[in-house]
């Protein structure tokens, strides 16, 4: 019996879904992930991040055009995220997830973003996996590059 078969047998008790996922990883295209990463690939990955950061930066600073383009209404008071959080100060993405007193529940950064949109900004909350949420999250995390993870910190 090969090592791979033994491994698959051992997984028999796991859910069908996770077995399928495991198989996909184990029997995937023979060449996948074997070539050294190229400079072009690295640049493409970085560009993908920075495009999200750019969009998030504009949303965060109350840019009307990008909000319209992405179909979101983050504020109804003229308040933008950056008015309380210049350079994303005091957003503290590195402290999430945590119990968030304002919501009285255990919350993720995305929960907190939506809370700020709805309460201080009086805007319309956005889908947790929407493009706007990903962009805001990308901008906030990028801005806090180098901050040390301390999940749960009050």
């Amino acid at each position: 019996m090969t090592a791979r078969k033994r491994f698959l047998v051992a997984l028999a008790g796991a859910s069908a879904l996770s077995v399928l996922a495991t198989v996909a990883v184990l029997v995937g295209p023979a060449s996948a992930h074997k070539d050294p990463v190229t400079a072009q690939q690295l640049k493409a990955y970085q560009d993908a991040l920075m495009e999200e950061v750019r969009k998030g930066d504009l949303l965060f600073h109350g840019d009307d055009a990008i909000a319209k383009q992405m179909g979101v209404k983050l504020t109804a008071t003229g308040m933008a995220c950056a008015m309380c959080h210049p350079m994303t100060a005091d957003t503290h993405p590195h402290t999430f997830p945590k119990f968030q007193a304002q919501m009285a529940k255990f919350a993720t950064l995305r929960d907190m973003i939506n809370w700020c949109i709805e309460k201080p900004n009086q805007g319309e909350k956005i889908e947790s996996d929407s493009d706007a949420m990903k962009a805001l999250e990308a901008y906030i995390y990028w801005s806090n590059t180098g901050s040390v993870l301390i999940p749960g910190r009050y």
Binding site: D57, G78, P86, D90
Partner: protein, 377 residues
Amino acid sequence: MSELEQDRREIASVLQQPGARPDPSLKITRRTFIHRSCLVGAATVAETFAWWPLLNTLDIANAADAPFKFAWISDTHLYPKSLNTRFVEKTVRAVKEVQAMTPPADFLIFGGDLAQLGTVEELELGVELLKEVKIRKVYIPGEHDWYLDMGKKWGELFGQANWTFDHKGVRFVGLDTISRAPDYWSMKKMSPKERMDHMSVLDGTVAGPWAGVGRDQLDWLQKTLSNWDRGKPVIIFSHNPLYEYYPPWNFWVRDWRDVNEVLKPYTKVTNIHGHVHQVLYNEIGTMRSIGMLATSWPWPYAPEGVPKLTRPMIRVDPGDPYDGVGWSPWSVSAQDKVDTEYVMWGRKEVFAQSVEDSFANIPEILRPRIADNMYPY
């Protein structure tokens, strides 16, 4: 060492030399927030929250005149009424409370950022709301009032941006720290609205180091003070702090070294400033500098921390529009003490009582934004 860190060290070596402090007759009383660490040297993090009893009282000599009060309101950041009623409500509340002071204040100083985007509608709304204050009013501009029409409407409404007057033994000076921005708009052919949009974002990177006093105004200040007794009290109002706290947000004036040169001979100088929307205290040579709350919203402390002498304010509840904001009454007593307190509507304790309750509690490393430099300009 970062450029900012270098600047920090420079300001400490130039302006905070051993022995150079505000006049020793400036006694500590109940409300001043001098930090212990500045008196005994460097503090550990734990010590940072061990305070002296607080005060904010300047003991001023030569005060034969009657005691009096004045009031400070700033940073109302009014939008048109149709867009934002909260800012209007908070301005109305501050105005009512100033008018209700007993004994009444001799005058109100409005410390700038009356409007959010500098429009005629916003500035006129401000004038209308401030009409409820019947005592004398004096004004200095903020950057939000100015960069749509380069101060045209503001000047029509409030006159000269810098001024001086003597009142009951104190020389008061109003400075304009906002109108001398380097030209960031002509080359890029910005519309007035675009110019204002860049200026109105605190962490914008395009408007650059716009806060400054300027050589012409420094000369004027020097002349203004030249006939004033060096031991008598001077109170200087400015929108920006007259030292360097955090340049990326213009929590400074870029020519603070020159300001210090002019003020050096005067031993009882108090600078009261807006713009930072937060509790802030520092001593620069013989000047003490006190930051005031906004009525609109609080700014967080700079990511690199607060001046050592500042006792940090509480962490604000973002769900309460009345938390972290307010105004300040000031009084000058018969013994010539200048005394103030922060009227913060959201709570009784303005200062953090523990590390966890402090606005400066969680360490963070931040980088400047990028999108305003790449798109769409």
